[in-house]
């Protein structure tokens, strides 16, 4: 049965990596990801995982080495945050294009500048359109579970793409909570052997990978990538159903929380969903018809599931922990597209940039009908 331990999100993910025992982990340290690789490196040093850790000189090199390893035929994982992901970004696009099933733990952290080490989702949103799968955890348990689901999803024959497991920096990476770990022997059984169609080191079937594509083929390759990430939605459900049989915890691409009969709903990503749930419970106890839709898979975005879950809700407020200066914040833009024509009133608030706290009182104000463009911002004003 499950073994309950007091672990931070970072430690929990390091345990997941130890249990998956990937062949190669090229990685460069950065706050708030560092506890993940620090804990994992100790497991390797203690002989608890057989992984080859490659201490590269930058995140650009980390992802480059990860592509080489993953395509050579080695199960490959890495981890980063913020500026590390920004430096890696060029190569993240290439990893997706080369269909390298790399699993990456992301400790979400604000992008500079000003330089800041605390949580927001601007790093994730920077690579929104790179073609990699992005799953968001609400807490340490989910970060652990999604890290076990991720290799299966990345290596799914219909997908074959990098998968990022995103956990809020500090709020999850550095906060200790009880986490139920699977027995060590259950994890290799669940993740299985690494298998990709054309490992570069298969000398019996030599291949060239990552070729140049001119105007006559580039468009077709991009469409192929789009189809692969679309396939990650049904593949997630398939893998999550199997995971539920092993772990007893069932994940979906979205989580509907007390949306039955709700007239007002919040849509959120990551750890804030936990805070919103507490407020929803409190308000439901007081008889108010409120609920939460948590997005687990931000990429691919489960538009149909979102539209279905919010079909009968009158007012939807989308909480974005990243802004898009001069445009609609990313999560709000997705939800707006998913709900287009539904007739519900759509609102949105940017919150929590650079690690600013989101308080239950802020959420109560949203449910009470407050319509604030920037929650917690000094000088914030209501929408006209």
């Amino acid at each position: 049965m499950s073994d309950l331990q007091l672990l931070t999100g970072g430690e929990a993910v390091a345990h997941a990596m130890r249990q998956v025992d990937p062949d190669v982990v090229p990685v460069y340290p950065i706050t708030p990801q560092t506890p993940i690789i620090q804990t994992f490196a100790k497991f390797v040093a203690d002989g608890k995982a057989r992984t080859e850790i490659v201490n590269v000189e930058s995140e650009h090199s980390a992802m480059s080495a990860a592509i080489g390893a993953a395509l050579a035929g080695a199960r490959t994982m890495t981890a980063t945050s913020s500026q590390g992901l920004a430096l890696m970004a060029e190569v993240v696009y290439i990893a997706a294009s080369m269909r390298a099933p790399i699993v990456m733990a992301l400790g979400n952290r604000a992008l500079s500048g000003p330089i800041n080490i605390h949580c927001d989702h601007s790093d994730s949103m920077l690579i929104r359109d790179s073609g990699v799968v992005q799953l968001f955890a609400e807490n340490a348990q989910e970060a652990y579970d999604l890290t076990l689901i991720a290799p299966r999803l990345a290596e799914h024959p219909d997908v074959l793409l990098p998968v990022l497991v995103c956990q809020d920096g500090f709020t999850i990476t550095h906060s200790a909570e009880p986490v139920a770990l699977l027995p060590d022997e259950a994890v290799p059984r669940f993740v299985g052997d690494y298998c990709i169609p054309h490992p570069v080191l298969d000398v019996a079937r030599p291949t060239t990978q990552g070729p140049f594509a001119m105007p006559d083929y580039y468009f077709e390759f991009r469409r192929q990538q789009a189809a692969a990430i679309e396939a990650a939605l049904p593949a997630f459900e398939e893998v999550a159903a199997e995971f539920a049989l092993v772990a007893g915890r069932r994940y979906g691409v979205v989580e509907e929380y007390r949306l039955d009969g709700a007239s007002t709903a919040i849509v959120a990503l990551g750890s804030s969903a936990g805070t919103v749930k507490d407020v929803v419970d409190e308000l439901r106890d007081a008889g108010e018809a409120v609920g939460l839709l948590k997005i687990v898979s931000f990429r691919p975005f489960p538009a149909a599931a979102v539209a279905h879950a919010l079909a009968n809700v009158e007012t939807v407020t989308v909480l974005d922990r990243a802004d898009s200066p001069g445009g609609a914040p990313p999560l709000r833009a997705e939800v707006a597209a998913a709900l287009y024509g539904s007739g519900c009133e759509l609102r949105g608030s940017v919150y929590g940039l650079g690690g600013r706290d989101l308080h239950p009182t802020d959420i109560r104000a949203v449910y009470a009908g407050g319509n604030v463009s920037h929650i917690g911002l000094r000088g914030a004003s209501c929408h006209a």
Binding site: P197, H198, T207, Q209, G210, D216, Y217, E220, Q224
Partner: protein, 92 residues
């Protein structure tokens, strides 16, 4: 040129196998000089084989026997690295 493939017919991620691309004979790119070997001087160190950027050094087993002029572009690196002066560039 064969008809262009649709997006859903392309190999995964653009993986190219040996039979998937034409094999033009690039030796035609030479511009007047071609390597010539005096096999009697060759010490079979295989430096030419290591350095040749076009895999145009021909071996029999592990023994140097000559050049594959279908692919040799006449760059002269083999003549330059040969420690036994067994390779010279000559007019073609």
């Amino acid at each position: 040129m064969a008809e262009l493939s649709s997006w859903n017919e392309l190999p995964l991620g653009g993986t190219v196998g040996p039979a998937d691309s034409p094999r033009p004979l690039t030796g035609g790119w030479r511009t007047g000089e071609v390597p010539a070997a005096d096999v009697s001087r060759c010490v079979n160190c295989l430096l030419c084989w290591i350095y040749c950027p076009d895999s145009a050094i021909v071996l029999e087993g592990e023994t140097f026997t000559g050049f594959d002029l279908d692919y040799c572009k006449g760059c002269g690196i083999c003549a330059e690295v040969c420690p036994a002066d067994a390779i010279a560039m000559v007019a073609e």
